[in-house]
């Protein structure tokens, strides 16, 4: 089977726009959270600085910025007929719903034009696992043989639409979120854009395998048995020893149900002793960007020989327990799993491994 490598990445986050800035922030537990005025309820979030921005769409702007950085690092010609584009977002330009075409197709067309991509883009919009599903889509496009490189871009901006929706579901915490902690009481929303160029050209980090599975249980509540998450994990870890893995970077939204469900899935998969970590305590829930952002940060952590800390976690709040990495630890292992779950009963897992040439 064709091997797929990550040959470039780009980030736009409230704590930095380069992998080293972002990694330094995460290692120091530095975030950009603050309380914002809402409609009318306030909300606690990690948002990007819009000061000085005057373009027509902030969403389009950050998606393009992350993508351009990734393309530049990869050194590819984005206009080649052998370069594909996958966009991951949940709500795109939804804040303009009263005045413009807010379809995700329109957002993808704008991004393709900005990058000079000449092949037709595809949007993968699978709720909170979108970024992970988009990376898997990129892997599959490369394995189909029709592309040499695929640019995978995830982005999300926050708006009254999303914030009031989560508030109506009582899913938001008014404090810094606490993934897997006994006192966790909800998620914080976040903004970011993240991009990876995937390629058949050999490089250090490989996406080895990926899977998306449905709980077949409930559209907005996770499975009590962790069914889909467990099945996705089982698929990507077939024939892989847990000893090889540095960690699992989990979804860890800090809602009661999500974290409990992931603990069950990890235990069923026999991964209860493996270090796990969650990054929502730094970035908040960046929705369509999360899968790509958290994968990039995990790659850079492995490169630095560390398992990143889980900001916000202090006391085990799931049963059965899992091995949450509260503080940074050293690791010499060069593989990890990225795990996500979302509304619609979707769950996804990706296995990353370092081993290729520079």
């Amino acid at each position: 089977m064709t091997k797929v490598y990550c040959i470039g990445c780009g980030l736009v986050t409230p704590v930095g726009n380069t992998p080293s800035e972002v990694l330094t922030a995460v290692r120091a537990g530095k975030s950009a959270f603050r309380l914002y005025d809402g409609w009318p309820e306030p909300y606690y979030a990690s948002l990007l600085d819009r000061e000085g921005f005057e373009g027509p769409s902030f969403f389009d702007h950050i998606a393009l910025q992350a993508a351009r950085t990734a393309v530049q690092e990869a050194g590819i010609d984005a206009s080649s007929a052998r370069v594909g584009l996958v966009l991951s977002t949940i709500k795109g330009n939804i804040e303009k719903i009263d005045s413009e075409d807010v379809s995700l197709a329109a957002a993808a067309a704008t991004l393709a034009k900005g990058l000079g991509v000449t092949t037709a883009p595809v949007v993968v919009s699978n709720a909170c696992i979108s970024g992970l599903a988009a990376l898997l889509q990129g892997v599959r496009m490369l394995r189909s043989g029709a592309y040499d490189h695929v640019i995978v871009v995830g982005a999300e901006v926050q708006s009254r639409f999303i914030v009031t929706g989560f508030q109506s579901l009582k899913a938001l915490s008014l404090n810094p979120c606490k993934p897997f902690d006994a006192q966790r009481d909800g998620l914080n929303v976040g903004e970011a854009a993240a991009a990876m160029v995937l390629s058949t050209r050999e490089c250090e980090w490989e996406i080895v395998e990926g899977a998306v599975r449905n709980d077949a249980n409930h559209i907005s509540g996770p499975s009590r048995t962790g069914e889909g998450s467990y099945n996705a994990l089982r698929y990507v870890l077939e024939g892989v020893s847990a000893d090889e893995l540095a960690f699992v970077n989990v979804h860890g939204t800090a809602t009661r149900y999500n974290d409990q469900m992931e603990a069950i899935a990890l235990n069923r998969a026999g991964l209860q002793d493996l270090p796990i970590n969650a990054l929502k305590g730094i970035f908040g829930h960046t929705m369509g960007a999360a899968g790509i952002l958290e994968s990039i940060v995990s790659i850079k952590a492995c490169d630095a020989g560390v398992v990143l800390p889980t900001q916000g976690f202090s006391q085990m709040g799931v049963e059965p327990a899992v091995n949450v990495s509260a503080l940074e630890r050293k690791t010499d292992k060069k593989a990890f799993v990225k795990l996500l779950s979302g509304f619609g009963g979707v769950n996804g897992a990706l296995l990353f491994r370092k081993g290729g040439a520079r």
């Binding site: 409609w39 719903i97 379809s103 189909s144 998306v212 449905n214 077949a216 099945n231």
Partner: protein, 164 residues
């Protein structure tokens, strides 16, 4: 390969009574989900061993508009009292989730948005989805819903052997 569609503007309640009748959650769904749910019923109603959990069937839903019709309903509610019942349908993949839940299909479920209806493109993406070694068949649908009484649909039940 079995193929079905639902004419734009057809009464979905009548189709529900004709094909289903005993799944009241249907009435909570947005139009996109109702369409996906009914198209699936029309395709698999006579399959043996229905409602037995299976992981070998994917649900792959394509559109241009995604869930924009329901998004407009939520945006209206938001001005007054944001409705959680509407908000949960503001995701393009809830339709694939509803289909998976009804049928106990625990395989892959995904929502894709394309610039326009392009069958060749859809089948390229479906063939790529079959790279998952677990997937042996797929419910594939184009459901483009521009309002609650205006849509274009096409749905297929496809086996791996039909494509390769």
């Amino acid at each position: 390969m079995k193929q079905v569609s639902i004419p734009s503007g057809a009464s979905l309640t009548e189709l529900y009574r004709q094909w289903v009748g005993d799944y009241p959650k249907f009435f909570k769904m947005d139009t996109l989900s109702k369409l996906g749910f009914l198209l699936t019923e029309m395709l698999v109603h006579d399959e043996p061993d229905r409602f037995t959990f299976r992981e070998d069937r994917a649900v792959l839903v394509f559109s241009r508009e995604g869930c924009v019709t329901n998004d407009r309903h939520y945006a209206e509610s938001m001005q007054d009292f944001p409705s959680p019942a509407l908000f949960v349908y503001t995701l393009p993949n809830i339709v694939s989730g509803e289909i998976s839940i009804r049928n106990k299909w625990g395989g892959e479920s995904s929502a894709y948005v394309l610039e326009s209806y392009d069958e060749a493109r859809i089948w390229d993406l479906v063939r790529q989805a079959f790279q998952d070694k677990c997937t042996k068949s797929a419910l594939v649908a184009w459901i483009d819903c521009t309002s609650d009484n205006n849509w274009i649909t096409n749905a297929w039940l496809v086996n791996k052997t039909d494509l390769f």
